[in-house]
């Protein structure tokens, strides 16, 4: 690039490509600010999914901080989650057993998802689709167990506006937060099934790009990660 009169403050971002990289923060800033793309070789869909997930993080954060602040300020007693979420199996009451299984199932589904992404980039269509469907099935199993849990609590008299165990906000927060997360899992299972179908049909073979599998995976891992926080803040507190 020939030297031409640069406008003030223009020097570092219009360096010729063969000049040595700038050190430190200057270098980071000009890397980010450089030509055309901030994230090199990252497709649009993937960038957009990351930004969406950041926004969704704020939604869940607001739900959880809202719930925690209510829980800290109420004057009535909060029901003990270990007792409320216990199941009696073979005459023994085991605390949080169902939640533990649910958590295990959901985290396992992240494993199958990661394997699916791996096989997608190897262009192994059958294995990719199978693993994605397995992931979706684990998700459906998770939602099914959640439905069981809801049914059990409703049968015990837990309602959004009150419950026999203690503070009314317990039921309200429980149904709101797990409901919103369950909605995410359900949408995710549907989303994964559609992408799996497209993999099987060979849509991505024609365009030669399996990024969509990875993008769906990002969403799925996010939903999984959110559950870890819900598990910690709602059930273990």
């Amino acid at each position: 690039m020939a030297s031409h009169p640069l406008a003030p403050g223009e020097s570092s971002s219009s360096n010729p490509p063969d000049s040595p990289p700038e050190p430190g923060w200057q270098g980071i800033a000009s890397d980010w600010a450089s030509d055309r793309e901030v994230f090199k070789q990252v497709p649009w869909g993937k960038a957009m999914m990351w930004i969406f997930l950041l926004s969704d993080t704020f939604i869940f954060t607001c739900f959880l901080t809202g719930y925690m602040s209510v829980r800290m300020t109420i004057t009535t007693a909060w029901p003990n989650p270990s007792e409320v979420f216990a199941l009696t199996i073979a005459g023994k009451e085991i605390p949080l057993i169902l939640i533990a299984i649910m958590t295990f199932v959901l985290i396992s589904s992240s494993g199958t998802m990661a394997m699916a992404v791996n096989f997608a980039y190897r262009r192994d269509r059958a294995k990719t689709a199978a693993l994605m469907l397995a992931t979706a099935a684990l998700g459906v199993a998770f939602v099914g167990m959640q439905a069981f849990e809801w049914t059990k609590l409703i049968a015990e008299g837990v309602r959004p506006w009150g419950n026999p165990m203690g503070a009314a906000q317990f039921g309200a927060s429980f149904f709101m937060i797990t409901g919103f997360h369950g909605l995410h899992v359900s949408i995710g299972a549907l989303y994964l099934s559609i992408v799996a179908l497209k993999v099987m049909r060979g849509d991505y073979e024609r365009s030669g790009n399996y990024q969509n599998v990875e993008i769906a995976g990002l969403y799925w891992h996010f939903v999984d990660l959110v559950w870890v926080f819900i598990f910690a803040f709602f059930y273990l507190w």
Binding site: M1, A2, S3, H4, P5, L6, A7, P8, G9, E10, S13, S14, W32, A33, S34, D35, R36, E37, V38, F39, K40, Q41, V42, P43, W44, G45, A47, M48, I51, F52, L54, S55, D56, F58, I59, T61, C62, F63, G66, S69, V70, T73, I74, T75, T76, P160, W161, A167, A168, Q169, G171, A172, M176, F180, N209, Q211
Partner: protein, 591 residues
């Protein structure tokens, strides 16, 4: 697949029929116009509502239907429409949609279909909002902040249906804003043209970009509070509702925290102020630079100031809550952050003034609006320093001083930029100029009128006149002179309100009969003025994307005749221009 392939090879969905071209359009320019017209339409409704309120305040009893309930309903809808459905939608959905792809050299937004959905969700939100005028009980009258417990307690107007429709409409709007925002942010980050580095983008793009990021992070708080309040209202939960006695009855709720709502609301609400202000900052920077024929002063500092304001705006929210009864130590923290955010803001004002300094100022209509913005924003910003301090805020809170402050800083100031922006970019959108005489008339009435309206309100606030009263007669602590001033404000407000018809007429008339503008009537250097067609056609750039060689502010470059250098001019071309200019000068001397 990275940018190069994606942008150059991906087939654009060329619209075939009238429906896909103008109604279900995926073209960012058409979507921008749809957004803008819808926003202007609801804006007219909000202006009419404010006129009705002013008649009631200036001449109580003139309008028979204007009782306390109707007044509060008008006030609530006026505030919510202006902040969310007009300003946010117009700056992000309107200006953002139109300008981002053109200014960064993209063919369209990265996901045109999602972009189209964004508009239709916005329209649905508007329809749901306006439908609350026609339901039993009318729209909600709880004030635009919707504070519980009052907003969902018996006795508040619109508690039956209005509040539900308001919350649902907000939730739909947030979905729309998210879909739009994802597009704007991804387009700026990943779909710029060759040579368009981040630090070559016009400040308009920077402002809209940062505001979109903030919208994506702040709207979740509003979404969550809307969901929680809907549950409180419809399912009988008690997130925000404490135990209390309402109309002599113990209510069914207990244990909720109204302050929690205030925190969630203002965690959204304060960034929202800057979601409106940052695009205005960006657009006004471009207007000033173009019409003063001078490069923007301190471009990089302007960018960093936008980023700093965006970040800081997330840690100042509780300065809206000094009188809420929260822990006084919070007040100390939030007063400090509030005063810190004034630093980058002041930096921007200095830089605008220094851009004007010894510039070749053309007093065109957009420039008049831009100059008016600087003055108005300064006045509104300075009163913000009063209100940011706890000890000054407490006596002034909920007085007309506050009304004057926020109308100046985030009402009038951004609206002046909206007008300036429309006068500036209208030639690109339609290919025709807006009428200059009508524009100047519109400007002077609006500018002087808004000062006549809002300046006296500061004084009324110091007198202790509280806001949100529907009539101010027979209060011992409000002197009679306040009523006379109220009548004066009302007369001016009605004049300013009616004068906006000049603007609407100008828009409609000039779109078809205006003077043809040519491709670059202002001699602007930024990329959107260098399109091969005006108005730009689908795909914006014809066969090849433009290549950018410089920043957007090369005005009055020494040694060449033309007083601006478009971003697409390369170093070699500039050298040719220079030699050509030198040649003509020699020729001049010889003759």
């Amino acid at each position: 697949m990275a940018y190069a392939e994606q942008a150059e090879t991906e087939a654009l969905h060329e619209p075939k029929s009238f429906l896909t071209k103008y109604i279900w359009s995926q073209d960012h320019k058409v979507i921008a116009i749809q957004y803008s017209l819808t926003a202007l339409f609801v804006g007219v409704i909000a202006v009419v509502l404010s006129g009705l309120m002013r008649i009631q305040l200036g001449f109580p009893g003139t309008l028979e239907f204007m009782d306390a309930s109707a007044y509060y309903q008008a006030m609530t809808m006026h505030g919510m429409i202006m902040v969310i459905y007009l300003l946010t939608a117009l700056f992000l959905g309107g200006f953002g949609n139109y300008l981002i792809p053109l200014m960064v050299g993209a063919r369209d937004m990265v996901f045109p279909y999602v972009n189209m959905l964004s508009f239709w969700f916005y329209l649905l939100a508007v329809v749901v909002l306006l439908s609350s005028f026609f339901v039993p009980g009318g729209p909600t009258g709880s004030g635009w902040t919707l504070y519980p417990p009052q907003s969902i307690s018996q006795g508040t107007p619109g508690v039956e249906w209005g509040i539900v429709l308001m919350l649902v409409s907000l939730a739909i709007f947030i979905v729309a804003a998210t879909m739009g925002g994802l597009n704007y942010v991804t387009t700026v980050l990943q779909a710029r043209t060759h040579g368009m580095t981040l630090f070559r983008m016009p400040l308009s793009v920077w402002g809209i970009f940062m505001a979109s990021i903030m919208a994506l992070l702040a709207f979740p708080a509003l979404f969550v509070s809307a969901v929680m309040m809907l549950f409180d209202k419809l399912l009988g939960t008690s997130f925000f509702m404490p135990a209390m006695i309402s109309l002599g009855q113990q209510i069914d709720h207990q244990g909720g925290s109204p302050i929690l709502f205030q925190h969630l609301f203002w965690f959204f609400g304060h960034p929202e102020v800057y979601i409106v202000a940052l695009p205005a900052f960006g657009l006004v920077s471009d207007l000033i630079s173009t019409h003063a024929r001078k490069n923007i002063f301190g471009y990089r500092m302007m960018v960093w100031a936008i980023i700093a304001i965006g970040v800081l705006s997330f840690v100042v929210w509780a300065h809206h809550m000094y009188v809420s009864g929260m822990n006084p130590y919070f007040g100390f923290f939030f007063a400090v952050t509030t005063l810190i955010i004034a630093v980058p803001t002041a930096l921007k004002v200095y830089n605008w003034v220094l851009t004007l300094w010894r510039g070749d100022i053309h007093l065109t209509v957009p420039m008049l609006f831009a100059l008016a913005f600087i003055v108005t924003f300064l006045v509104g910003g300075l009163t913000g320093l009063f209100l940011g301090n706890v000890i000054v805020d407490i006596p002034l809170s909920d007085t007309y001083f506050v009304v004057a402050h926020f109308h100046m800083v985030m009402g009038v100031a951004p609206v002046l930029v909206v007008f300036g922006g429309i006068y500036h970019w209208f030639p690109k959108v339609t290919g025709r100029m807006l009428n200059d005489t009508l524009g100047k008339l519109h400007f002077w009435i609006t500018f002087l009128g808004t000062y006549a309206i809002f300046f006296p309100m500061h004084y009324l606030g110091f007198q202790g006149m509280p806001r949100r009263y529907y009539v101010y007669e027979n209060y011992a602590f409000i002197p009679q002179s306040a009523q006379e001033l109220n009548a004066f404000i009302t007369v001016i407000a009605l004049i300013v309100g009616v004068s906006q018809l000049l603007f609407l007429f100008n828009l409609a008339w000039s779109a078809f009969k205006g003077k043809p503008a040519g491709s670059n009537p202002w001699g602007a250097a930024s990329l959107e003025w260098q399109t091969p067609n005006t108005p730009p056609i689908h795909g914006n750039w014809g066969a090849k994307l433009p290549v950018v060689h410089r920043w957007a502010y090369d005005y009055s470059v020494p040694g060449i005749e033309q007083d601006f250098v478009p971003q697409t001019v390369s170093a070699e071309e500039l050298e040719q221009m220079r030699q050509l200019s030198a040649g003509t000068k020699i020729a001049d001397v010889k003759t």
